[in-house]
Symmetry: D2
Subunit: 450 residues, 4 copies
């Protein structure tokens, strides 16, 4: 490691900057949290390729507490689907604290799966099966998110269980409104165990990275949940993950996140990174003071804010004058005609819907008054998603209906298998290996037999 | 227009699909809304290049109502900055209806600028100036977002004013808690005028596109607000824009959005598109029924959900074996040595922090055991943002500290001006025009004078 | 004055006991209250005969503020009746502070007329009439309750008006829910004037005594409101008069009461006394600290708690053995027969329903096995209300149906006019001037012609 | 029974009037209530002498449910005192429904002992003792209120226990805020048993009469709780007993009351009657529809409204001119002198503080300008409470200090034991057996040796 040590350096620098911050108070409702080391401070970052970076006490183990909530929500969504899960728990920020005793007036559902009431319901949705008790399924799921076998801190579990009257109250309240499908005592017991699962900041960063990576653990390569479920979980984290400070967090930090009372904090930059910190002193909203500062600074530094306009599109689309294509000696009438009658559009990079629209618009700009035919050069395109392909196919079909002649330079079949292209565009689109050849042929076709 | 007509086709198809939907009720608190055409239905989409697409009644004019809120919030943020604006209005979803009579318990602030109380405060933050009364500033700002001069529907304004007692109540309540900096009557009057500004679905799509485009109107090219302000506004729209249905909306549709009681609805895909619809029948949360369905479907179809893992990264990073670089005839000992001692990393596309980390990690993978020197080929890089550059510079500096030799193939100076690179990397990094040349030189250097 | 000076002494003693109490804070939202003398402390008591007693600064004038609310509620009830007033304002304790911004969910009404929202509505219910603007009616009503012409402290009125944004907010909110029948600005202006009406602790005690005295001012003798309205107002004071401390107040002090922010406090012992105090430092619930202590002690000392079982009934009912009635020498068979066949029931004092039931029960206890006839002796009855009379008549009718012979000793016609008695009892009830005569005649009748 | 049958007739008439009312719905959360006879309707009334009257199904047994709450509150108050009980449960109307999940923000206490949360705490305050488990104490207390041994409907208890999740939620919530002193499961179990205690409308009327009678069961004569505790319980019933309809109830009916979900309803007229009804269909506030109508009508008919000014005071005070006292032939100078120099005040009936003040005021009205001496005639006084005596003693002491001569006609020692009178008045007050004698002696004393 040498070059990528620069990433670790960035984490170390943030660690140094915030390690001395003294604000916040440790949770003290159970002795294990009250006794936790207030100076321990770890930061971890995991990339979509599964590269792990960390600084400070990133390998110190602590209990997940509320950080477990989005992952068990993911498990419930995977098992039952969004529609069924939504019958039991909502997805609205409640404007209330994490342990608020309130349910949605009309439905009796908890507002969302990030507050305790909603998390208890979510855990209760994981069924006990003959061979697999609910908690085994929960632990297995958390472990797959982390990429290693996690375990339970039995001491913390017992403490939670002995002080968990408010959560029991929530469970009985849910049961009484018909929004808890199982026995309240059992549901809360499983929930306490889930909260007492032990992990490190690095584990948390891997878990967050798995959500950011569309549900595929970037370290193990395992598909833990579907892309759709990962997106659903990130959405709820974005609006509800930081309880009644969620709006301010999205405004300032710009990432889906989840805090826990034991000092853990995760954030996910979709398709970018999983981030996590560990530091036990909490602010009034129950968020780790140092963790919040460090992740905020990291988001700022890496430009991860979801709403910041990325400076660079992943693709470029160029209108190429035929002059640039054809031999540099435009000697006669024929060359001039060619230049007037054949347009060239070249795309480069990765094509999504945005890029596809640009391509189509550029094809139109080489319209009839300028060119009788158009060549779409896709040689430098590195990939295209299905949305982009569908749009390109539809655009090329439209061109054909309009009587315009088109050809593609697409040796790598970026436009998709010829059969699909034929079906979608309604024609046998001429394909060429080089731009020059394509222009020549189009020019001849346009010029006609003369 | 022919190829890009495919985009319009997509809008037309959605229009056809939802035009027949019959649910919802028009607002009826003023006669103009009660009399509005319940069948009028328009959809518009504007790209980051300013291309406009639309279907149905996209040119029908209606009053902005609450759709004006994010834009006036943007004006206040531009004028006063986030910190000052945050003294007066929060950024938290309230879990309550748009016209809730409630302020934050501790601060007395409205929860956010998307509910009426917060919007009235926001409008009140726009100062009356000698030459420019507050409303003139508001109208001018809205017009610049739309890219054309908007006007006020005086009839609607008068109706709003005559039925606006609840908003007056909010203004007096705010004044009484010290969270309204101006006269309540004047503030509400300006607010009523703002709500009565008239625009079309196409105007709304341009306004949304301006936010999605970092504050620059993609049609006029005018910078209306800063990139930072645009991101702030989109963040608050993401958590609060759809009132007490905001969480569900982000979960299902995945875009910052804002609804209005007159049937307008906007959504913004950052760096992708601005979307807008117009249809007056509203659901229980006050959102246009057809608009909600159409924008949801559009987001699904175009893959705009913020939390969906984009299928394609905007860049690729490749470890290239030296064999692919050097002449195809690997005849002697020297060639073998070269292949073992010089690694090549090639990057392609647009580099952001994610891609930069990948580059650094790849440089390390060509580490000492494999290569004594490393060549970074940036010829096919189409751009790099400042975060990526800083990370690359830091990584190259690290390599040098580690005693590894590096060179770049960077005829386009993608790595930044040589002076900056020298300063950041602490060395005169050898730059070459072709990969072959770079490898040759590195190999010689590594091999030493023998 | 000498004997009744003992009452004044009791007030002086309480004054001395609490004058030194230092807790509480003056209201400071307007300068006039912030500058008020925190040491001024007055106590006043007015009896049902209009006798006034006082101690300390009982003649210091101050503004009524919320103490005006029950009296204007009385005016509204007098003008419109309970049913109509209840359409606009409820009678439920709200569990909230005096200036809470909340209305009943289902009806949009303010919870009750003692909180600001309800008081504003109540004031608004007093109509402007051609000759009598609403405020003139209000001032006239307050003056009749006080028994002298009150006036407005114009300085305080102006200060209230200039800081009254929260009340304006309430008025507009009410207007917006359709629960304010007039213009909000006018309603609040009248309300501010009403709050600024000036009175002394003695005035307040007269006002409270008027409510306690069934609506008749015991000093002037004027009927200000009906007995029914007075009872309605006292009822609402009992449950809502002390805002969110009303329950605790009724529990500890046991009297309908009303506090005001300017330091006034009234309490009413129905058919007993009107009480009032003045002292400006307030507790957290907005009640005068010294006033609360003094009235609590006074209630304790005078035994005014509504729920304390009065030690003494206002009437006695005695079963008299005939032996006590007839000549002391019961020599023969005839006397013994008399004693066995004629029962005597004697009542004394004031008869209400409770006493009437006792009389009837006693009549039955002189039943067939004991006496063939019964004599009801009402000579020492001082009065009987209509409820008691109706019950007595019904009981005597029942006796007759049962075939028992009855007679009354009622020289004062306590049983009501003979015609009414005949109609109600269905018989010509024998009436006698003396008990002996009645017993003799009954005995003869029972014994028969033998 | 014959005469007092008139009382029963009144109940029968109300029964007939309301038996046909069809509104309301039976509770259906447990099968026993859902199956109850909706037509069963009983009314009962018990006097302060323990006379019982009833009509309809007044002997049908049903479970107490919430009607048990005030009585167990009385038990807790008796055991621990108001101050200790108030640490655990408040006395404020909450403005919320009976089963609201909310505690006082500052203290975490339930608002009052009439809502479920407060009732569970109240029950929990009854301690388990070695020999007497808590429920045994509860059942014993309820039985003493009823005057007979009550029992538990075990079926209902089991049903309550199996559907009582909301109450368990409340218990755990209380436990979590530190406001439940015992195990939640045990507390709720005892509470369910308490709710399932079985009684009849007649039992309920006896229980209510015991509260109205200062804690002494008027049928058995047993002192169940102290006068003070009875008053405390009635106070809380007055403000909180009918949940969020308590204010309206006190306004319209004017009596402390308590409703139960099983159709029971009690009301207490302090020192008047205990009332109860049974009919299972309930209104929206959970009150028996027929019960509410019948008790409202009964209060109206018997004039029991607490705030209605009783038409008749229990006492009269008369200024008697000496002319009425002395021999009818006022022949000479001496008689004239007497008439001018000796005043006579005669009181009659029961003396409370109100009457005592009247007496003192009357003594003053026979002031120096009219009379040199005053005679207070107490022969027709039937009793005087301690407050009245203290006031009379203080007034007579004052008179003496003022140099006025006084004498009392008090053969029955209504003024208290001579020693106490001497101590309090500071003199040996001359006492006489007849008015004439007293006037004569006073006149001689005033006239002096001439």
């Amino acid at each position: 490691m040498a070059a990528s040590e620069a990433v670790t350096d960035a984490l170390r620098e943030l660690h140094a900057r915030y390690a001395g911050v003294r604000g916040g108070r440790r949770a003290d409702y159970i002795p294990q949290l009250a006794r936790s080391d207030p100076d321990a401070f770890g930061i971890a970052l995991v990339s979509m390729d599964g590269h792990c970076y960390s600084a400070g006490a990133a390998d110190a183990a602590f209990t997940l507490q509320s950080v477990s909530k989005p992952f068990v929500y993911a498990l419930a969504l995977s098992t039952l689907g969004l529609d069924e899960v939504s019958r039991w728990v909502g997805a609205e920020p409640s404007g209330e604290a994490f342990n608020a005793i309130s349910l949605e007036p009309r439905t009796g559902r908890p507002a969302n799966a990030m507050v305790n009431a909603g998390a208890i319901v979510t855990t209760a949705l994981v069924p006990d099966r003959a061979a697999v008790p609910a908690f085994t399924a929960v632990l297995s799921c958390l472990s797959r998110f982390a990429g290693r076998r996690l375990d339970v801190d039995e001491d913390v579990y017992r403490s939670e269980a002995s002080t968990g009257d408010r959560n029991r109250a929530l469970a009985y309240l849910l049961r009484s409104t018909g929004t808890l499908p199982v026995d309240p005592v059992a549901a809360v017991d499983t929930y306490f165990r889930q909260c007492a699962v032990r992990a490190t900041a690095v584990d948390l960063a891997v878990m967050a990275a798995t959500l950011a990576h569309g549900g595929v653990n970037p370290v193990t390569g395992e598909t833990v949940v579907s892309t759709e479920v990962a997106a659903q979980v990130l959405s709820v984290m974005a609006t509800c993950g930081m309880y009644d400070a969620s709006g301010e967090w999205l405004l300032r930090v710009g990432l889906p996140a989840k805090s826990g009372v034991s000092g853990g904090l995760i954030a996910a930059g979709p398709a970018r990174f999983g981030l996590a910190t560990y530091s036990t002193p909490l602010d009034a909203a129950g968020t780790s003071v140092r963790g919040s500062a460090a992740i905020g600074a990291l988001s700022e530094r890496l430009g991860l804010h979801l709403m910041r306009n990325p400076a660079l599109p992943g693709s470029t689309v160029t209108l190429v004058t035929t002059a640039d294509v054809l031999p540099s000696a435009p000697s006669g009438r024929r060359e001039r005609a060619l230049r007037e009658r054949v347009g060239v559009v070249a795309a480069q990079g990765a094509l999504d819907c945005t890029a596809a629209e640009r391509v189509l618009y550029a094809l139109d700009e080489t319209g009839p008054e300028r060119a009788g035919a158009v060549v779409l050069d896709l040689r430098e395109v590195t990939g295209a998603d299905s949305v982009a392909l569908a749009l390109l196919h539809a655009g090329l079909a439209r061109l054909a209906q309009d009587g315009r002649r088109a050809a593609v330079v697409d040796p790598g079949d970026r436009l998709g298998p010829p059969d699909l292209v034929r079906e979608r565009t309604g024609q046998d689109l001429p394909r060429f290996g080089s731009r020059e050849e394509a222009v020549e042929r189009c020019a001849q076709a346009v010029a006609g037999p003369g």
